[in-house]
């Protein structure tokens, strides 16, 4: 007994040492395929409390202002939307709007609102409530300093038609408008919530939605508890569970310490945890836990978005050289895991209109060097290329939101060094990012953004943080895409946008498809939205 305990302790110590060293070293080792032992299949079990650990406490719950995972992952189960994007079929289906249609110009949209839907305070989610929500999304809420939702940039007005219809009029055509109504950031709240001040709208205790879970209690910075709403009967058209949630309660906790996450799922202290490191995936799967990779179909791929302000990347040949100077498979093999998919374009493989450009951007160091030579950047004495006395030294900035972005750029730094390009790696340095985000002389912003349909909202505005530049040719293309009148034409133009961003202009050096890796206990059953949010309405726990 005693020896058993000792060996257990030794094993624990070794495990933690391993974790700690990895956390310090940054450059993690290869993770072999993480296959979560699949939970026993069968009919959903009713009841129980489901504990989900997010990576950081949420202080601002305002439903449309910022679009961070930690918030969307919870609000997804509190707020319903007009439409739902079904990632499996790639189609937009009805939710609170049982029917929706657009005019041929993509400037007018009519939603037919489902009967009998109520908010958790008992008030009706009717056409009038939808109109008030659309106004808030499209125009912002001035009294509460709430900005308009960026995907509603074309919004002009909405009017209630008859008993249960709402007609939206846009300022200009937008073929992506319907898709925008499916995002968590377009969640519908009670008209009373819309009247609260900024602090009120930021408090989860005061936000009233029509979703399957209702706020019960919170301990600031430690947990929020939700209860299932018994009379919930308006799930999205394609949801397997059309009724109320199987679970009784949903408890949200926070695990800021990345090294604790695998252990939390393994020991069953949480049912689900977000933000698993690649190195922990195998450990968790081997110890009776499950690993879920939620693919971000609603998002761009992870990328180094290019800013040309410093002049070093002004020549498109240099950007194209860097695009084919990235060995994406090596990134996956070295710092990522089997949960990650190497990027084939700037959109996710499952996004409507995705075009596979992987052969065009395949790793080709020789061609890359040739392009750099042609652009006039010659290798200097120290191995770094230079032109007119200036070295090809470029900088990348990213936030620390992603657990893998820093080691990934460390590897790219090595790959580019062989081409004679020096990358200054400021990834995961939030303090540096404060200024770098709006400084077009910092050549790269490592990021991924929500892209609901076309890429216009992400790359078009002059102050877009990806390129910090309004490229006229691109903007013409974006406008054409938004005005597309048929689905076929629209998808064709979305494809053109990807070719322009990845190949012709090489303003997005794409890396891997966005994915959020979750750890789960053996008994957890849960699926995810196209925006990587867990669907708690359909989640359940097997017994025992």
């Amino acid at each position: 007994m005693r020896t058993a305990h000792l060996s257990l302790k030794a094993a624990a110590l070794v495990a933690v040492l391993g974790l700690t060293l990895t956390a310090c070293g940054g450059n993690s080792t290869t993770a072999a395929p993480a296959e979560g032992a699949p939970a026993a299949a069968g009919d959903p079990v009713e009841g129980g409390t489901f504990t989900f650990a997010e990576v950081t406490p949420i202080n601002n719950w305002q439903t449309q202002a910022a679009r961070f995972y930690e918030k969307a992952n919870v609000l997804n189960s509190v707020l319903d939307r007009l439409t739902y994007f079904d990632a499996e079929s790639g189609k937009l289906v009805g939710w609170i709007a049982e029917d929706f249609k657009a005019n041929n110009d993509q400037t007018e949209f009519t939603f037919t609102i489902r009967d009998g839907v109520t908010f958790s305070d008992g008030s009706a989610l009717d056409a009038e409530a939808v109109k008030l929500n659309l106004d808030a999304l499209g125009l912002g809420i001035k009294d509460a300093q709430v900005a308009p939702n960026v995907d509603f940039g074309a919004y002009k007005s909405a009017e209630v038609l008859g008993k249960n219809q709402v007609k939206v009029t846009l300022k200009r055509p937008d073929a992506n408008f319907l898709r925008a109504t499916s995002s968590v950031a377009a969640g519908l709240v009670s008209p009373k919530t819309l009247k609260l001040d900024n602090a009120g709208q930021s408090a989860i205790a005061k936000i009233v939605g029509s979703g399957p879970f209702v706020f019960e209690s919170e301990k600031p910075d430690e947990e929020v508890v939700f209860t299932s709403r018994d009379d919930y009967a308006w799930a999205p058209e394609t949801a397997e569970n059309q009724g109320d949630a199987y679970l009784d309660k949903l408890v949200i906790k926070y695990l800021p310490e990345v090294a604790s996450r695998a252990g939390a799922a393994q020991s069953g202290q949480v049912d689900l945890v977000r933000g698993l490191q690649p190195v922990d995936e195998q450990v968790l799967a081997a110890n009776g836990g499950q690993v879920f990779a939620a693919q971000g179909v609603d998002l761009t791929t992870n990328q180094a978005a290019v800013r040309i302000g410093s002049g070093k990347l002004e020549d498109v040949k240099v950007r194209q050289a860097l695009q084919i100077g990235i060995d994406r498979q090596a990134i996956k093999d070295t710092v990522l895991s089997e949960s990650y998919v190497v990027a084939g374009s700037v959109l996710n493989h499952k996004a409507p209109g995705f075009v596979d450009l992987s052969s065009e951007i395949a790793y080709n160091p020789e061609k890359s060097k040739q392009l750099l030579d042609e652009a006039g950047w010659k290798v200097g004495a120290d191995g770094i290329r230079e032109k007119d006395g200036e070295k090809l030294e470029i900088t990348v900035a990213t936030s620390n939101n992603s657990v893998v972005i820093k080691p990934a750029f460390e590897l790219i730094e090595q790959q580019w060094r062989d081409l004679g390009v020096k990358l200054v790696n400021r990834a995961a340095d939030n303090t540096f990012l404060v200024n770098a985000l709006v400084d077009d002389k910092v050549e790269f912003f490592g990021t991924r953004q929500f892209a609901l349909g076309g890429l216009g909202p992400v790359y078009a505005p002059a102050n877009n943080t990806q390129t910090l530049n309004a490229d006229e040719e691109l903007n013409k293309l974006f406008a054409k895409e938004q005005a597309a009148t048929s689905e076929e034409e629209h998808l064709g133009l979305v494809e053109e946008e990807q070719r322009a961003l990845v190949l012709d202009k090489a303003l997005a050096l794409v890396l891997w498809d966005e994915v959020q890796v979750y750890g789960a206990s053996q008994s957890a059953h849960v699926e995810f939205t196209s925006g990587t949010a867990p669907i708690f309405q359909g989640a359940w726990k097997s017994e025992g």
Partner: protein, 318 residues
């Protein structure tokens, strides 16, 4: 004594005012105002909303007006609004300050008790081996990183043995373990200084006199050496407030506890500058108050401090 206290309190207030001004200047020297920085933290923000929010929070005012209106607010206990939550900075701090007080306060008490116990054990230990072992404990304790010890204990107690929750749940262990982790790191410098000064006091002639008079070693230690060594350890204890705060950032993160440390981390991450400003100011106040307290206790332990500062030649000659 009254003059000494007034002078120290005055100095403390001056330090806090200077700290406030330094923070204000630092914020002003950022390339953008707090609202723009906050709203731009992940993607480009709507210029109309930025302008409106700037007006609402008063960041559109001239710098000098901002300085005095914020200073005036400060005197009324108003630290402004946290941009990330829309609620008052003082309310945000109020929500979590209790949790940190319990953690840091208990850790401090445990650390001091442990440091004194270790010093006593090392000073009174009979064999040289045991003494050496005890003397080497503080350097070891200070070299163990707080996060590492926390993670090892969590992995062991929560994941492997399953006798503790990874989250704060009001159980004994979920409070005792973080306190222990923080106290280990904290007690090391206090113990180190205390041991050193006890050793120094031990070489002074009056100790030999006491021994010659037949006093027992423990009597000499508790009644004379510890008392004479205390002032140095007290100064260190005042400075460890900084360690305590830095330690609680890590401890609260590892143990998923709400508290000031977590709040500092979050406010920096989401670039909520008014909240950062409030927290920096609070830190300055805590730090200054702790050192003021040390300054006020010092004369009780060593009355020469007062007479020396009054410039009396008699005191200096003593």
């Amino acid at each position: 004594m009254g003059g000494y206290i007034a002078k120290r309190v005055g100095q403390a207030l001056l330090v806090i005012w200077l700290a406030y001004t330094a923070v204000f200047i630092a914020v002003q020297s950022l390339p953008n105002d707090p609202v723009t920085i906050f709203l731009n933290s992940d993607s480009a923000a709507d210029p109309a909303t930025i302008a409106q929010m700037k007006e609402y929070y008063g960041y559109d005012q001239p710098v000098i007006v901002q300085y005095f209106s914020q200073l005036l607010g400060l005197l009324r206990g108003d630290l402004g609004y946290s941009l990330s939550s829309g609620s008052e900075v003082s309310a945000r701090i109020g929500e979590v300050v209790g949790s940190t007080l319990v953690l840091a306060g208990s850790a401090f008490v445990v650390a001091v008790v442990f440091a004194v116990a270790l010093t006593a054990a090392a000073s009174l230990a009979r064999g040289p081996r045991l003494r050496n072992l005890l003397l080497n404990l503080p350097p070891l304790m200070v070299s163990i990183p707080v996060f590492w010890l926390g993670l090892v204990l969590l992995q062991l107690l929560a994941v492997q043995l399953g006798i503790m929750s990874l989250f704060p749940d009001d159980s004994f262990l979920s409070l005792a373990v973080p306190i222990f982790v923080l106290a280990v790191h904290l007690s090391a410098p206090i113990a180190q200084v205390l041991i050193k000064s006890v050793q120094e006091v031990g070489t002074q002639p009056f100790v030999d006199v006491l021994r010659a008079k037949g006093a027992s070693e423990s009597w000499i230690f508790y009644r004379h050496m510890l008392k004479n060594a205390a002032p140095a350890a007290l100064s260190i204890a005042g400075i460890t407030i900084g360690t305590l705060l830095a330690g609680s950032v890590i401890t609260e993160t590892v143990f998923a506890r709400a508290g000031l440390g977590q709040l500092i981390l979050q406010s920096v991450t989401v670039q909520d500058i008014p909240l950062v400003q409030g927290l920096v100011l609070l830190t300055a106040v805590v730090f200054t108050s702790a050192n003021l307290l040390v300054d006020l206790i010092h004369p009780k332990l060593d009355p020469r401090i007062i007479t020396a500062s009054s410039g009396s030649p008699r005191a200096l000659a003593a």
